[in-house]
Symmetry: C2
């Protein structure tokens, strides 16, 4: 396998052997290690010295179930710290099958405003790259340009690209990847990595896996045994099985659950319950589709080889697709957090975010802060749609929103900014779900539910049980355990949603580790795997410290200390020492 | 003397005895100490837990020459650290003469968007405060409302107030004070303290000193001896004497000098020389006025009791005042840094900044970053005027600019942001004048020339001589010495410009210390005074550390490491360890 290094200063590339140090790494473990090794933590995120690293997971490209994920990494223009943001897409196994352990994009063109695309193919006995101008695609919609790219390079390729948000340099710009229908709907959304790609004048990375060598196995039998165990666990668990919770209702199944728990942030985190929750819940998506399409429609996979199949498509009254997919986080951010209870409007907004290259979470949280600042009223769906257009078109108000909720708060003098390390909080109220508050505050990524999903035991009774409302020092240990396990899981290439099954079914967890050992030839135990996750966190933390982040950045926003959240009328009562314990004891 | 505590949550106030600890403090020393003692460094700058402290200097209110300064302090919405910003104004001795050692404004009204004014008078045997609604003045120009406030409270009062910028919560919002003509032209400009005042619903603080007890002296003879020595030094030194450099050409005398040195930042710090420098220099202001008014016009004082008298008035072709005063920093920021060489346009922009309550430096640097990002071209004076109107009127593009140059850079994806701790750099190029680079990087205030004005020895051969272009470790010591001395000087209530005289004339420095000893009854030597300045810096530094600032924030922007500055083609070559030495050895 190789590391592919692309230099955008002069559009050159080099294939490098994978150094010993990187051979047992993949996904997040590899992107964070390369960033730690090669990027000056003090560099400007959009300057020539930042790098953008892509790495498929360790088992990505194999038949391991639900494992087609790629990590993107770099110094974040949003948080100022290290960033890893992963996505499920056929693009991920495509680069793995070309024998690429990672792609490192570095440098920056002298001339601003010029864009290129890189076409990666199998070139007789190794991968090769061809660069071509992409100026014709600049300033245009991704739903418009993705088909043009497929037209140009053929139907078998996979595409990663950035929209106008990434051209403008927004803190809220993701990297779009093709879904199963070759649409730009799968995202490394968080932390502005789309702007890192855009700053390098790189509009698309087109990957053609044809002819590639595919995956090697150190111990294929062990791999197969592990994949089988994991597959069985996924097929068994109520959340992940076919026609189970996720396959039926999608991730938005969580809307009603969090609303019931009083932990669904509503109207810019002014309430933990949303009156319109039932109207935007996963159940409503399923029922609306059923009514409009005249039949029950179960969800599909976002990427090849997925068993869980949680991606929905939402249809309009004419039976035409509005968008795929309305995820829980998008549904909440553009819905409940903005006081909007109209699924058609929410689906339209998701479409626009995908089209402009915006992160749906950051967009929704920024819109909600704007509403809280009086820019438009809560619940104004038409106004919100107009503001997303302003973002995608680079209008000044759109640029404020493009900077994320912290920039909106600064522009409007509003201290009610639900963000940590300038990254907007996802769909779980940290005052009502204490463990996720610890994760938001302490994650190396900024406020990020995926970094340590304590929601599993706190809300879903998966992987044990922990009272969401009770402040206890053990929340630090809980969050730390989830953060470590996640850092490893993000390195395997598996989707985080396998966690539901592997937390409850021990053989599933074993299977995941066996898959990895089968590919790498390692003999890691489960505990060792989790410990490796901890090592990744330490690297990330060290990068952040060198970039100037301190324990002062590991705090929830001040207003949550004083403002009581209905319906439980709770404040953030997590002591600083509990926050600090997560990394002090790592 | 008293501390006056104003609570804006319920518009109440209290007079408190001055605690022992504060009795020997004044100005910056007192504001920074109170902020350190009372404000949680983690609070939101615009939330209810920040405080705004005003303190006249130790000798303010006495006949000490050029000493009518007041410090404003708080946690800065711009830098996120502690802030002290002082101004020369009759408002300063007015509060001193009422026996007020400091005014602490705290709390925040429940209802957003409501504004009040506080009228401070002598109430038989002590100061008292009356609150009245100020909603009629909201959203209006300060040049319009200041006369209305004088109309309401009488011609003998002094006024501090915030413009629309402070209502909007901009990081770039100053506090305006009356000048000698009762106009809102004197400013605690830097660091957004106008927004702290605005966030508390406080629009004006009107001070009527009539009946106040005036100043006490522990040793009036010693005070008088000191004041005499200082007065003589000021009258003798070529820069500060009547019809000397500052009195004739104003602070803008520096334009030609810095241009000659290759250290006048031009076109957003792309060049160290400005082709149009001579057209905007202090000499040009003097000659233009002479031509337009038919006579030589020497400058006037910004505040009572000033000997230096460096404030100009700039007149239009009809002989009408455009604005008073066009300071060097404003002239440079709105002129050279924006590529604008039209004094009429620059004067108009200064007027608009005063009118809307904007800091001229932050405004100019933000405009220049916007020009560098393609928003309008360099040199476009009409475009720049239009953008300042957008700032003052709260339009989205204006709000981006109102957040200062760092927000502009983020909104437009431009890494060329000349700022430290998000505060825009003033009018000295740190690549061409190394010592000021050390001050910019390490000052507790963010990029601030007044915090440690090494320009004196580096450019003006005042107080010794140091090669501006030569990188040497001694620059750390030079900057530190200036920072300590300045922290003390900012506590006395004297204008920083007395530094020219007291650095060159030993008896002047002695005189300043004797004035202070005469007022306080202390027996400080000059060295002890400087050491006290160091203690103030330590307090400020500790606040910043607790607020999350680290040595990573003590750095010049990355682009200055790589981009050569003409005409000397120099980069920032100050090693990190030299930056770090300033506070490590404090």
């Amino acid at each position: 396998m190789w590391i592919l290094r692309i230099n955008m200063t002069d559009r050159s590339y080099a294939l490098e052997e994978v150094p010993e140090k990187y051979q047992k790494l993949g996904g997040r473990g590899l992107t964070s290690t390369i960033i730690s090794d090669e990027v000056d933590p003090m560099c400007h995120p959009l300057g020539p010295n930042n790098k953008l690293v892509f790495a498929p997971g360790i088992v990505t490209g194999t038949p391991a179930p639900t494992s087609a994920r790629v990590s993107a990494g770099g110094k974040s223009p949003l948080t100022g710290g290290i960033k890893e943001s992963n996505a499920g897409t056929g693009w991920a196994p495509a680069i793995a099958k070309l024998g690429l352990k990672a792609i490192i994009v570095e440098g920056k063109p002298e001339e601003a405003g010029k864009y290129w695309m890189a076409h990666i193919t199998w070139d007789e006995d190794k991968p090769g790259v061809t660069f071509s101008p992409a100026d014709d695609y600049v300033g245009k919609s991704l739903y418009e340009t993705f088909p043009q790219v497929y037209e140009k390079f053929g139907k078998k390729v996979h595409v990663a690209g950035v929209g106008t948000a990434g051209e403008f340099g927004y803190g809220n710009a993701g990297i779009a990847y093709n879904d199963m229908k070759q649409k730009p709907s799968r995202y490394s959304g968080r932390g502005g990595l789309g702007s890192v790609m855009g700053s390098k004048g790189l509009k698309f990375i087109v990957v053609d896996p044809a002819g590639g060598p595919g995956m090697d196995y150190a111990n294929e039998d062990l791999f197969k045994q592990g994949a089988k165990k994991l597959r069985e666990a996924l097929l068994e668990h109520a959340i992940t099985k076919p026609k189970g919770g996720l396959n039926t209702y999608g991730t938005a199944i969580l809307i009603n659950i969090l609303n019931e728990a009083g932990g669904l942030p509503t109207n810019n985190f002014r309430d933990g319950r949303f009156e319109g929750a039932a109207k935007i819940a996963g159940e409503a998506i399923f029922e609306t589709n059923k009514k409009r399409m005249g039949k029950e429609i179960y969800n599909h996979g976002c990427s090849p080889g997925c068993i869980i199949q949680c991606s929905n498509t939402f249809y309009n009254e004419e039976g035409e697709e509005i968008v795929s997919c309305v995820e829980y986080e998008s549904d909440w951010a553009l819905g409940a957090d903005c006081g909007i209870d109209d699924l058609d409007a929410i689906a339209k907004m998701v479409y626009l975010c995908n089209d402009y290259g915006l992160d749906t979470i950051e967009t929704g949280v920024a819109l909600a802060v704007a509403m809280d600042s009086g820019v438009i009223p809560f619940g104004d769906a038409d106004g919100a749609i107009d503001l997303i257009h302003k973002m995608g078109q680079g209008e000044p108000l759109g640029r404020i929103l493009g900077g994320g909720p912290a920039m909106v708060g600064e522009a409007y003098g509003n201290p009610r900014v639900p963000a940590v390390k300038r990254q907007g909080m996802p769909a779980y109220e940290p005052r009502a779900v204490k463990g996720i508050g610890v994760t938001y505050a302490t994650s190396t990524m900024g406020a990020d539910h995926t970094a340590g999903y304590t929601i599993a035991p706190e809300i879903l009774s998966v992987g044990g049980s922990s009272d969401p409302l009770e402040m206890e020092e053990a929340k630090a240990d809980l969050s730390q355990a989830f953060q470590k396990t996640t850092a490893f899981l993000d390195s395997t290439g598996h989707c985080l949603f396998i966690a539901f099954a592997i937390l409850d079914i021990a053989s599933g967890f074993e299977g995941m580790v066996e898959e990895v050992n089968g590919v790498l030839g390692t003999e890691w135990t489960g505990d060792e795997a989790v410990a490796l996750g901890g090592e990744i966190l330490k690297l990330e933390r060290a990068f952040n410290e060198a970039a100037g982040l301190t324990s002062a950045d590991d705090r929830l926003p001040e207003f949550m200390l004083h403002e009581q959240l209905p319906p439980h009328n709770v404040v953030n009562d997590i002591p600083d020492k509990v926050m600090d314990k997560v990394y002090e004891t790592l």
